[in-house]
Symmetry: C2
Subunit: 337 residues, 2 copies
């Protein structure tokens, strides 16, 4: 198996990317191909003493800039490390692609270079996140700001397959993100989606999840339009970050509070590990023909290594094939869009 | 000044309500009227030894049940403690009304019994919430699930007046809740609202606030449609609750962790106080002719006392009058809806 990695995506590229690739190669025995400026990659590897001798180098002159309009990837951005890597994936030169670069551009590239699975209306960016009771996936986290009911039904399938095949869950609890549990809650979109989701075959739809319950792990797949999903994702991150800053502040006031920290250190470490989203890798772009993983923009070597691990699991788990099957069943059920 | 209080609203009614009223009467020197079954009120006051001798009793036979359809308040619910209290307010028998009962029913009652301020399209339920840097108000928190651009513009005015007149802010930073700061972000509603909000006179519109930044206090008035606002409110509550449970768990494991707690106790207490939403009282229903405060359903005496304090501040702050002025200016600017 060969994973293509964008050597120039993200805030810490290329050093942390190369380190993560070297660690993944060693730990998982996977082949790595790096897309990007070959000379620069060699230079950095030598300077930082990173062994890239077994990695394939796929040359690309440019780097796609974060502030560039995503659709530019298909036009002026064709020679960037991201587009070249995606093209190599589409051409069968690797099994998956990992990038910490622009989310929007990666979504555009995955959709139009790697291409959608037949029957998929829109790919999603799935967010695998920790809760008090283990991880869940949020579909969509922001790829599709405005959604229709059939799109939400597909998201349910995409998330369901992911939790089954990648996270090893038997019968994921699929829920619709909403402002109450009653089926009359929400806007027209949620009311109609509730109805449609409850009729889906092969989906363990448990109804609406009031978003207050998400952090307590009351669903394994949370279905939302991209706007609502992004609000959920960012509120989760923001509130968790604010409180953890405040709690950290409690322990760093003086000697006494510092000593107190020692008493609870093992517990704090365990909680940090529980809430460490980096261990789940990146955000999978689900619904395209091959595995594409969006690593966090601020990824370090550890996050990149885990994103590569996630890519391996996605390839082994045959996510694309399973989705094709799930959607062809769905299409037999629902004829209208 | 006289505050009418629903003696039978909320999970802890009537005992905690009566206690909160007695405390408020003593502490703020305000007149209190209680709406509800007079005999039951007297019975409970005697049994619990709560002095209600100076309070007016406004009799109502029934209690509005939480699970009842909100609009029932105007039909079969006319003789409930909530409807009778609201009617007394509308009839000038008091200056404000406080209830911990059904949010939906209170909104319906405030809108149709107390009635809207001239020019107000829809009243909002404002949520005053803590952040790392002080409180902000979220308008709307869920009263209006589907919204138009003119509604969001009005919400900005309602929130702005509240933060100025009640929270004593000079020039509140008003922001639109969104999934990014650029003005092209969000659905059609957010894109158009951004444009309209940036043209409002007398409003210090600072643009979009990415919801991740809300908990860090980067805006004083956060404008959102009721669906998005409710998602923000409930994610805030849920994530904060989950993390605080986990942190509490850290300290209650064994003797060592218990001792560690003593070392940081003062800091924990200060943080708890900072995050204690109860100190801001309840959720004001803004846009109606008189002050109506929705206290949290689980309110204890302390929360009721603070909701009464908030009601006093709203009456003194002439919120309704200020809103009338703000909206009449707005109407001169925007003619179309």
């Amino acid at each position: 198996m060969k994973i293509i990695v964008d050597a120039f995506g993200g805030d810490n590229a290329p050093v942390e990317i190369l380190k993560g690739c070297a660690d993944a190669e060693k730990e998982f025995g996977v082949e790595i191909a790096l897309s990007g400026d070959t000379e620069k990659i060699k230079e950095v590897a030598q300077k930082e003493n990173i062994d890239i001798s077994r990695m394939e180098l796929i040359h690309a002159d440019d780097v796609f800039q974060m502030e560039t309009q995503p659709t530019e990837l298909l036009k002026g951005g064709r020679n960037t490390s991201m587009a070249v890597g995606l093209q190599a994936l589409a051409d069968g030169k690797g099994d998956a692609f990992v990038s910490a670069g622009s989310t929007g551009a990666l979504l555009v590239g995955a959709t139009f270079i790697v291409k959608r699975i037949k029957g998929v209306k829109r790919p999603v960016i799935g967010g695998v996140m920790p809760t008090a009771e283990g991880p869940f996936i949020l579909v969509d986290t922001g790829a599709n700001v405005e959604c229709t009911v059939p799109m939400l039904c597909q998201f349910a399938h995409l998330g369901d397959v992911y939790m089954k095949n990648i996270m090893g869950m038997k019968n994921p609890r699929v829920a619709l993100a909403n402002i109450g549990t009653e089926k009359t809650k929400g806007t027209k979109l949620q009311v109609e989606a509730y109805e449609a989701l409850s009729k889906l075959e092969g989906i363990n739809f448990i109804g609406n999840i009031e978003v207050r319950d998400i952090a307590f792990g009351k669903a394994d797949v949370v279905v939302a339009d991209g706007f609502t999903g992004n609000v959920i994702l960012k509120m989760y991150e923001g509130v968790a970050k604010m409180i953890s800053n405040e709690v950290k502040g409690l322990f760093t006031k003086n000697l006494l509070t510092g000593l107190s920290y020692l008493g609870v250190k093992s517990g704090v470490d365990a909680f940090k590990e529980k809430m460490n989203y980096k261990k789940y890798g990146g955000a999978p772009i689900i619904g395209v023909r091959k595995t594409v993983i969006k690593a966090h923009g601020s990824s370090d070597a550890y996050a990149i290594k885990n994103a590569i691990k996630q890519a391996i699991t996605c390839v082994e788990g045959k996510v694309a094939e399973e989705i094709r099957d799930a959607l062809s069943e769905e299409q037999n059920e629902t004829v209208t869009e």
